[in-house]
Every structure is written in C-alpha cells, then in structure tokens.
Symmetry: C2
Subunit: 410 residues, 2 copies
C-alpha cells in the first residue's frame, strides 16, 4: 500500500553512512542479548521540546533493532503542568514554593495515569520530573530508570529533597553531564541525547526545498539571516537575543527569526510567545509553528544560528544546527559548552555584547563560517547522533542483565 | 501521601446518587464476567474535543470496576493531522481530494505507531478515523472495535470506500446514532457517549466559585449572558452564533462568550480562532483556553447556552449544559436533535433568525428557562451519564465473550 520511498522505517543500518561498519556491528552486538526484551519509555508530551523529538525516532530505532519498545505519555491537567513547569524551572535554579497542594496535584495525576498504563516491561525508562512519581503506584517488577534531561547543577534544594523520595526508588538515574550529578541513591549514568540525521528536521534539503519552505512563511533571504530556534522559555533568553540583534543592526543590515513551538506540557510558552510579538517589526520575526521542515530550512539557510540559553540541559537545537554546518553562537552553559569548542566549531558567549560581537564577526567572515561549520558537523557525527544515544541505552540495559535482571525477571 | 478529599479516584459507586442502587448493581454484574480482562482504548489526542474528555474518566471508571484498561494515543505529524481533519470533515459531508500521497501519509503514521504500541489486550477499541488503519499492522488476536464519534449520515462516498478497507477488518463498529449507519461488514452497535458528573467540568459549584472563575477572565455578569462552548470548527458555526447574537442585541442588551480550546489533532482550530478575534468587542468575547472549571462556571451562569452546530456527532457540550439545568438552544442536527426535545427541555433551531428568536424568548422568560432546565437535567440523568456509556461497552464486550472470544483468546 505504501509505495513512496519517502515512507521508510529507518533502522541502525541507515546510520552506516555516518558512523561506519564497525560501529554499526558493535551496536548490533550489544542489542543481541536484549532481543525480544520489552521496554517502555514514558514522558509527558508527544509534541514540542527535545524529549519528544528524541523519543519519536529512538523508539522506532529500538524496535527495528529487535527490542520491543513502547512510548507512553502521561495525561495531565493544566494545574499539573503549571506545577511541573515550576518544578522544571526550580531544578534549573529558580525557587518554588513547594506547598502540600502542589505535591498532591502532582502525585494525584500520576496515580490516575498509573491506572491507564501497565508496567509489565523488562525495563521502564521515565523521562524528566513530570512522570517521576509513577514508580510509587506500581508493584515494581523490573529495573526503573530515571532519565533526567534538565540541568541539575543548581537545583532548588527543598524541591530536590522532595523528588529524591521518588528518585531513590529507581535503579539508575541517567543525567546528561557529570556536573549535574547529585546525591541520589541509585547509581548515576551519564550520557547525551542525540539527533536523528534521517528525519524531516535533519535530512538533506536541496536549495529549492529550502527556498520553498522559507517563502511559504515569507521569510526573506535578501539580508544576512540570524536565527534562534527553541521553545519560548526564559531560560532560552529570547529577549537577550533580540537585544544582541539590535546591537548587530547598528553595524550590519540583517534579519532575525525566532522560531518556537508550544509544547502541551509547557503552559508558559504561549505567554512568552505573545509577549515577544511586541518586538516584531520588518527585521524581527517571531514565529510559533510546529514545522520540522522549516526548522531544517532555517538552520541550513541562516548566516548565524544563535542559541543564547542561560540554562540548557543539553541543547539539541545546537546539535541540529552544527550537523547542518551552521555557524553557531551558543550560551556558555550546560550542554552547549560541551558541544561547542569555542573558536573551533562555533562561539561560546556569556553576555549580550559578546553575542552581538560574535554574530558580527561571523557575518563578516564567510571562510570562518565554513571552517567552523565543517568542524561542527564532524563533532556531531562522532558524538551526538542518535546511534550513540541508542548504544548508551543498550549498555545500560545490558548492565542490568548481569546485575539485577535475574531478580526482577518475571 | 495524598490526603485532600478532592483527590479521589471515582468509581461506579459514586454514580449511585444519580442512577440508583438497582442500576449500579446491574452494571457491576455486567462487569463481573470481564474481571481481569484487559482493554485498550486508542485515539489521537489527550487534550481537547469530546473523545479525550470521555476517555479520561471512562478509562478510570473501567479500571475501578475491575477491567484493566489502558489509554493509548497515536503520535502524528502536522501533515497527518491536516489529512485526518480533512477526512473528518469529509465524513461529515465535505468533499476531499483523496490522493495517493494523503493515503500514504495516513497509513505510514499508523505503521510507525504500531511499532510503539503492543496489542496484546482482550479488546481493542479504536476511536474515530485517525487511528483506524492501525489494524493493518498487527497480527490480530482479539476483537477490534471501531468507535466512530462523527456524524456519518452523508459521508464522502469515495473516502468512505477507502476507509471501508480498514473498517471491514474490525469485529464491530459502534456508531452514535442509527441514522449514521453505513454498509460495513462488521455488525453495527449504536450507543451514545456520556458525561462524567464528578469531574471538574461538571461537578457542583458554589456561587462564589462561579463568580471567582468568571472574574478571573474578566467576564461580566451584569447583563444576560449568552454562551457557546466548542472547538473552533466550521461545523459549530461560530459565525452564525455571532450573527444571531447581533440580532438579539437589536432588542436586548446582553453579552456573548465563545469559548473553545485547540486540540492537538485539529490544525484548523487555531486559524478559525484567530479569524473570530476580529469580531471581538465590548459585548463579544472570544476565548481560547483549556480550563474545565471555566466551562463549568459559564454553563451554570449563562442565561442561554447555544450550540448552533451544523453537524454534530453527538454534542457533549449540550449534554453538559443540560445537566447543569441550562436553557439550551441547539442546532437541529445529529445528536443534538436526540438530546433536546424541542420546547420541553430546550429549543432546536435551523437558522440564524430562529436562533435569535429563541434566545430572546428564553432571556425574557425566567420561568420557562427554569422549567426547561429541570427537564434537561432529568433527561441527562436517565440517558447520558458516563455510567450508561460504560454499561454499553460492557454489553458489547460481553457479546464477544459468547460469540468470538473462544477463537481469539490467547
């Protein structure tokens, strides 16, 4: 029925062109002992934000390599997501007034969700704080892994203490960076997320595909184009980007596009988007759409891609842009400072002035942009493709095979 | 941990106050043979629209009565939802250009989703056209039920013919009304959805709770208040409501609120909402928020609740308003004309003039509003509570117990 070659279920074989024969075979060997095992990934939204973007291709890749993998999403009320967003922000350094009511709404929603989802898998992977308390509502029969994607370097201590009640019941905690480590009971494992080079957002585009997509949104390419792509969130500092852009325009005529979408688990996004609309003018475009092909086109066509985050668990939009050989200016924080080697494959910045300065430097120097772009792609190829992320999960699951699994196995 | 009595898992026992002892016992008896059986409900969104609102409490109710029930949601691309929305509209009377590309995108998304979801349940219930083709991608081991919530009285024949390829593989098709019947291979069963009287949207509210909620959105109650609550969709005729309201205001000073939210599986909603904003003025308020307590408050405080739909599979917002003893003016279509007995528990209308006329009549006659409201609540109590819907599912599942189940049972 489905004949169009565009509709293909990608598997690890399709990564051979990027990571080579040896790595592909290595990953397949690691998957062997896990054949026919049964995994559940659970998070809080199907759309928007990095986690959903990882889980969409990762769950396919895992199934295709022989591990039956489900993707479960919890359902929450607006109250719940307003609380979990506060938790998210507080884990990244804000403070939160942790009332009993907040705790009760949080736990209650997960109690309801536990009824609607079995947990009879061999491994259960819970992503981020939203579904964390699920573990309280099951007769636990298997390893539970908490995969935390946020920057835990300066969490609100009171909140972390409360969440530890749940975290400490898990069998492992996966954190993105060593500097996010905290005093949890389960062993900590550190690995990055990764991007899928084969999906609509990252696949190769022809020049005409790029132009078509940009024209569809009336985005002009007549002037140098500065782009930031991320959820509308304070930690991404969209206002800072606009200020830096205004400084750039004191010297060079150029355009700015801020593109984001609003995730169902992020109630703040819409408000911030609406506030940003006040900055729109003939040179500044604020766009809220869910269109992966547009992201792809913008990252490929941009003169400079900015990701001026103040906090950033990892920063997949930086990875995506680097993969496309973009010249990237990123905030010197979290995962970004591990991805960008300052001056080699992009620039790290810590202020609005510095952001403006590096943007100007890159706009004025095409050779520098090209050199940095080549280095950027190579770094992503080696370290940040989804195949690495898959391999890390396989290693983690296999470690349970020897350590825990005999106890847990049904 | 959860002490607040507000956080309670409701079960069939909590319906005793509405439907009486005998009915509760009857439902429990019907659940008995299904104890420990395992059901999957699958639809295309967790938020917005009637189906998600039924599944949220129904899945809890089923679990609480002893049937392990999961709620699965498919993940789709914007392309996919743009196509399924066209299909939805075409099933309700529009036409659609059914290209191979549309079919391929539709089937492809479900093929991907089949990888991410097991189907090892005793019964699988697929809601509406979006996830319909899932059945193609499983080794079918149990009864599959297609639950179609849309008005199928005048479907696009070409589209229906294509969808029959999938529908005919199912073991039963549940339609809301006899007049939606079509020539499908599986037997057809007819039953209504129902509302949960215990949820935030429908529970009793004190006067101060109502006023608080309306004030939160600066909705004034100084003048008679006309309200329509529904997704922003052409078939709900929001422009028609505005025209009718303007006619009403030629005679009586009053206010209108159109409240909707945008579901993740409805790409048209946002566009229609934005277009309606042009009509906003000091008397007409267009609101797009997801706030069940606001819906509750509006339906209780409205002088007249309008649901001027041109097509309406069932019309749960009418049921909700009737339950709250509202005076309802509804389009004489689909499920609305079964819910409203014209002149007894509300008015049925077929034009803008008629809508305006009935609104005026109701604003001017408080006794009539109260009488109709009482009759309306009684009709919902007897026929349209979620307990009836549960009972109908139990009957359906039990019919398989004798007819099919031996063949399918693992």
């Amino acid at each position: 029925m489905i004949k169009n070659p565009r509709f293909k279920l990608f598997g690890i074989e399709d990564y051979r062109q990027y990571i080579g024969d040896k790595k592909v075979e290595q990953i397949k060997e690691k998957a062997d002992p896990l054949k026919n095992s049964f995994v559940s990934h659970c998070n809080s939204t199907l759309y928007g934000g990095g986690v959903a973007e990882i889980l969409a291709p990762l769950t396919i890749l895992m199934n295709r390599i022989g591990i039956k993998t489900e993707w479960r999403v919890i359902q929450g009320t607006p109250d719940f997501f307003s609380i979990t967003k506060k938790f998210h922000n507080a884990l990244q350094g804000d403070s939160v007034n942790l009332t009993d009511l907040k705790k009760e709404i949080y736990e209650w929603v997960l109690k309801e969700n536990s009824l609607r989802n079995r947990a009879d898998h061999d491994f259960i992977v819970i992503h981020d704080p939203q579904p964390l308390p699920l573990i309280n509502y099951y007769d636990k029969k298997q390893p539970w892994i908490w995969r935390c994607h946020v920057d835990l370097s300066e969490p609100d201590k009171n909140l972390l203490n409360y969440l530890k009640m749940f975290i400490d019941k898990y069998d492992a905690a996966v954190l993105t960076l060593k500097e996010y480590d905290q005093d949890f009971k389960p062993p900590r494992v550190f690995f990055n997320p990764g991007i899928d080079p084969l999906c609509t957002k990252n696949r190769e585009l022809s020049d005409s595909e790029i132009i078509d997509r940009l024209e569809h949104y009336s985005i002009s390419c007549g002037l140098p184009l500065i782009v930031q792509i991320s959820r509308f969130d304070h930690s991404k500092d969209p206002e800072g980007v606009i200020k830096a852009f205004k400084k750039v325009r004191e010297n060079i005529d150029c355009n700015l596009v801020l593109l984001g979408n609003v995730a169902t688990d992020d109630p703040e996004g819409e408000k911030i988007y609406k506030r940003l609309l006040d900055y729109q003018n003939e040179h500044i475009r604020i766009l809220s759409v869910q269109d992966s092909a547009l992201v792809n086109a913008l990252q490929r066509k941009a003169t400079v891609v900015v990701q001026k985050s103040l906090k950033e668990g990892f920063g997949l939009t930086v990875t995506e842009a680097m993969w496309k050989k973009a010249a990237v200016v990123g905030g010197n924080v979290g995962g970004i400072k591990h991805q960008i080697d300052d001056g080699k494959n992009g620039f790290l910045v810590s202020s609005i002035d510095e952001t403006a300065e590096k943007i100007v430097k890159l706009i004025e120097d095409e050779n520098l942009r090209e050199e940095m772009g080549r280095n950027a792609r190579e770094k992503v190829r080696k370290k940040y493709l989804l195949s690495s992320c898959l391999e890390n999960y396989l290693d983690l699951f296999n470690s349970f095979e020897t350590i825990y699994r005999l106890d847990y196995k049904k």
